[in-house]
Symmetry: C2
Subunit: 739 residues, 2 copies
Amino acid sequence: MASTSSLALSQALLTRTISQNGSENRVSVPAFSGLKATSPRTIATVRRSVSTSSHSLRPTLVCAAAVEAIETTTDSSLVDKSVNTIRFLAIDAVEKAKSGHPGLPMGCAPMSHILYDEFMRYNPKNPYWFNRDRFVLSAGHGCMLHYALLHLAGYDSVREEDLKSFRQWGSKTPGHPENFETPGVEVTTGPLGQGIANAVGLALAEKHLAARFNKPDNEIVDHYTYSILGDGCQMEGISNEVCSLAGHWGLGKLIAFYDDNHISIDGDTNIAFTESVDKRFEALGWHVIWVKNGNNGYDEIRAAIREAKAVKDKPTLIKVTTTIGYGSPNKANSYSVHGAALGEKEVEATRNNLRWPYEPFQVPEDVKSHWSRHTTEGAALEADWSAKFAAYEKKYPEEAAELISIISGELPAGWENALPTYTPESPGDATRNLSQQCLNALAKVMPGFLGGSADLASSNMTLLKAFGNFQKDTPKERNLRFGVREHGMGAICNGIALHSPGFIPYCATFFVFTDYMRAAMRISALSEAGVIYVMTHDSIGLGEDGPTHQPIEHLSSFRAMPNIMMFRPADGNETAGAYKIAVTKRKTPSVLALSRQNLPQLPGTSIESVEKGGYTVSNNSTGNKPDVILIGTGSELEIAAQAAEELRKEGKTVRVVSFVCWELFDEQSNAYKESVLPSDVSARVSIEAGSTFGWGKIVGGKGKSIGIDTFGASAPTGKLYKEFGITVEAMVDAANSLI
Amino acid sequence: MASTSSLALSQALLTRTISQNGSENRVSVPAFSGLKATSPRTIATVRRSVSTSSHSLRPTLVCAAAVEAIETTTDSSLVDKSVNTIRFLAIDAVEKAKSGHPGLPMGCAPMSHILYDEFMRYNPKNPYWFNRDRFVLSAGHGCMLHYALLHLAGYDSVREEDLKSFRQWGSKTPGHPENFETPGVEVTTGPLGQGIANAVGLALAEKHLAARFNKPDNEIVDHYTYSILGDGCQMEGISNEVCSLAGHWGLGKLIAFYDDNHISIDGDTNIAFTESVDKRFEALGWHVIWVKNGNNGYDEIRAAIREAKAVKDKPTLIKVTTTIGYGSPNKANSYSVHGAALGEKEVEATRNNLRWPYEPFQVPEDVKSHWSRHTTEGAALEADWSAKFAAYEKKYPEEAAELISIISGELPAGWENALPTYTPESPGDATRNLSQQCLNALAKVMPGFLGGSADLASSNMTLLKAFGNFQKDTPKERNLRFGVREHGMGAICNGIALHSPGFIPYCATFFVFTDYMRAAMRISALSEAGVIYVMTHDSIGLGEDGPTHQPIEHLSSFRAMPNIMMFRPADGNETAGAYKIAVTKRKTPSVLALSRQNLPQLPGTSIESVEKGGYTVSNNSTGNKPDVILIGTGSELEIAAQAAEELRKEGKTVRVVSFVCWELFDEQSNAYKESVLPSDVSARVSIEAGSTFGWGKIVGGKGKSIGIDTFGASAPTGKLYKEFGITVEAMVDAANSLI
């Protein structure tokens, strides 16, 4: 494909996309690309139906001069009008829904108007154009701001009827921004602080790609990442984590607007938030600008954005002091305008106050006309870039092929052959080490594979040996060094994953510290970001570090979470099998729970079997009716296998089942499930060094589950297994009590 | 009790403690007090046995002059020797365990020696003396530092044999500091950033009590809170959250040492952490001091602590630049000394380098003798305070009675009568509103009841109407304003709860945002901190805010966590019942999942029934054999009740069971369980607007669970219930399919 033209490429990608629509549910390759806007939904989770729109593949060709015109300044009375249009679209939609957050859109309308109308580069008719500027509304509750902007800019995802069905069942305008519902929305925000973290990930992705692919004569990767965050985002610890990293990494093309409105839900921020945000960001290595009049200071805002763009080696925070609910005579500058409809009377008062004679949801003709140029200009931007890409591809075919892979998400042919396989004779090893073999094998064949650990690279075994560290001055490298910032790490990886479908980010810490990053992991699952979570030290098997470090309830807690796969591989083949699926399912994140301690390579495991989630590892019964079924996962599958040996010596027929991924087993046919766990066999024993919560469904009312339902303890591993009763003897006894 | 003398009080408390040892498991009143050191363990979770030690009740009386002597400076060669003793105790213990973290203790020995030997006020023979200075090792992996200090200071919890059994089964010296194992350890640390957050909670508790109880002539509450935190703690978002609050609150008696050693597990901190910590803390409102020579600059350290103590209106960060693994010729200043034993050869080299001729675990006689004064001086400190308390009690009997309640944890007689009760005729209401009635009722009768929300007070309904806001200048008030900092909030509450047994902190946010604070909640459970988590908006019932705000898997995820009670009350009586147990069980935290939407007061519920966890609400069968059992929780109990009505109209016998707290039901006798869920009745249907994960065990192999195993959606509540099938019709159909 490396030598095809850009157009041929587009068509090839389209063909691929269409052919995948019929592919197996949840195993589809992601269908976004830089060159088309078709977005088939093939997720397993049930949601309300969303129509998929298909747009023109070939952008209209417009001269490049038009592109440059975007940054020119507009007549200020028209700006006033456009800003008020944004305000009233938000007011009207919230009023109609009788629910929502009008305050932020009313305050942030000026900065966001200038940003979307004068600075940002995008193509409304192809929201997935690769080289677009990214925008993240970190203060996601103010989503009507973003919907209003997308509407004015000409995105088909937010038409007038969508604004009118704000927060209603099946609409494209849900109560918080959801990337999987609304093209033009890059990530899913609402939980505070996540968005700015996603923005850091998006900016990291751009910096990385630019360093890898740009040439002196062709800067094929070149976009900004903008974000608006509020006081709430600023208070959340995650924002400090990621902004510290953004400063460290020198993400010069990240520009964040801080909506400094002094109001949060509990009232004036002075009741809980009196730090100096400016100074903190300077300490974090950011360039900081203060726009004192965010309500009307259009030129101040413009100047600030220009200054921010001129600072290349640091991210910029533009603190914009605004009035929440600006324009509402009785509710502006108070918490009452934050999260509730203004009410009929106050809407009327605001209309009078801002001299707004228009009907609800009406966009004045001159405003409409002013914004209409973005459709042609956006098409021109994309066409310009496509031409640039064609030249790039001709001159740098190898690099272009890699970049296409990242843009399209198409996995390289035969990539799965890179995964290592094992026989029972292969040396035993900790699954964290086996995981490292997979990570390194995959990074070699996948151009978009990158990641790292939260300061535990040498414990999580996550270093990519063929690459150096992604740093401020070495951004083309692929080892990310997150420091001890688990929450920020997860959310940054969401941003990377959602930058381009071919990015496959992984991140790592001890399994127990998923507690620190759970909010980001849930958003991976919700927003269909196929992040791979490499979680080592997955049980009391980590030993002496004790109960603060020993996961107990964590397996259960992820098995209960929608649209995330919880893998607990037992050996090398299962580890490779878990990676195979994790890489394939780009819209479902994966968690791999991996052992610190050595484990043997077991007979009966295989990469392919992992796809079934649960499967028979060994069996000495006939007719699908063993005396007992022993079920294990991860490090305890070995114990189940040993217990089976003991029981077979006693003459029993025993089946051993590996339950490596419950979610995948759930997806299998009833016939397959019956072939593994026949309903006639009620004698079932499970073993897992974690909570037994949830196992009742697998072992049934008459089965037994061996596990740990208390916290662990500090002692050597062997001692812990014995004291907590995770032993062959316990399993044999339990089995015999049921036969 | 208000008029008894201090000694009589001690005896009364002791008597109470002893009588409680025979009380019902998990419902014991906490037994710590300011005046004794007996620590009976009555938790329900199974852990290795820990002997309870009983110490002298009456401290030896020593003249007050001795107390003052503590702050004098010691001959510097003896300081060297004591500092090296600490280093080698850490080295030797880690070496013997072949596991642990020697680097931090070797680097932090100087500052911690000076702190524990020259500044801190404590009584080694009564680790629970109320007015002691608190110390928190936030960088908990360096726990051998703390164990060495406790050993030298004369704490009976860490004798030589305890040091020798570091990180072994059943020892008092586990791999990370655990307050429930080792008297002298205030809180449980290890997960980074938690400790400094706990320290903020401890300092808040002191400031609050001092403001409430101190008199111009008698400052009965007066202690400092010290903490050591490392680079890892600094990187974690939680530390920024809580340090922002500490600055906002002006916690002048909080003094944190930042072990600035430039090394974390992944190597030099310059790979991920190049911000200016000093400037960030200044931005957060802290006083910042830099000790450049933390390895030998004893006088610099002393001067810094004195300066910190002199700054009354701000917390102080003392940045102490140290060398990790100081003294090790080949491993100092590298990550290799962070988290592994030095190895025999390097231990020898370090002994030579530091000219240390002593045997492993040996404390030189002059060092021993130097530290021995802390036993008498500590007793004198306590005696001095006890005398002060006796005078206080005489002059201010009412205040003294309140303070005694907070110190002892003894609940006021008849407190439970304050809880509201309801009849089916009482107006329906959201359980979040009913919760507010309970909070306000309890705050009136409980002197140590206080708390707040993470910027959602008006949504969580958590304001205490009789009190103002705890702020820098109004610290005696009881409404805490945490800002949007869920993680920090939870960990601060852990610190408050563990300051004194009579503190009952609650904290609040939307239930889905437990994801942000789960690491702190797990430490509540592990460290036996009876925090009450008030979690509102507990399902899709919150409506339009959509899937980012709608909990699905959260109930399951807490049911799987050890030693935490997950309540989902259905109405007023169940809400009051949940609070009753939450308040009583001081060593087990509680989570209350509460509705945003209005619910009716149901017939058949009661405060008392909640204690059983699951109970029959209505029943028209005889002989414990209904045709079907319908099980619900929270907002869905009403649906179960309505479905029962429908089915009864059809002539079926139906039992309705409320499953308000699974953990409590688990604790009931088999006979009781059988009376609620007879094993003969396999026709069981559960309904809950959340994940069905875990319900298999309750409804059995032949039952059905109605729930939501995907993410929610943005729409009005009624529409969501209908679309997700959480309806009376669905329950009736499911029941009929089983009968």
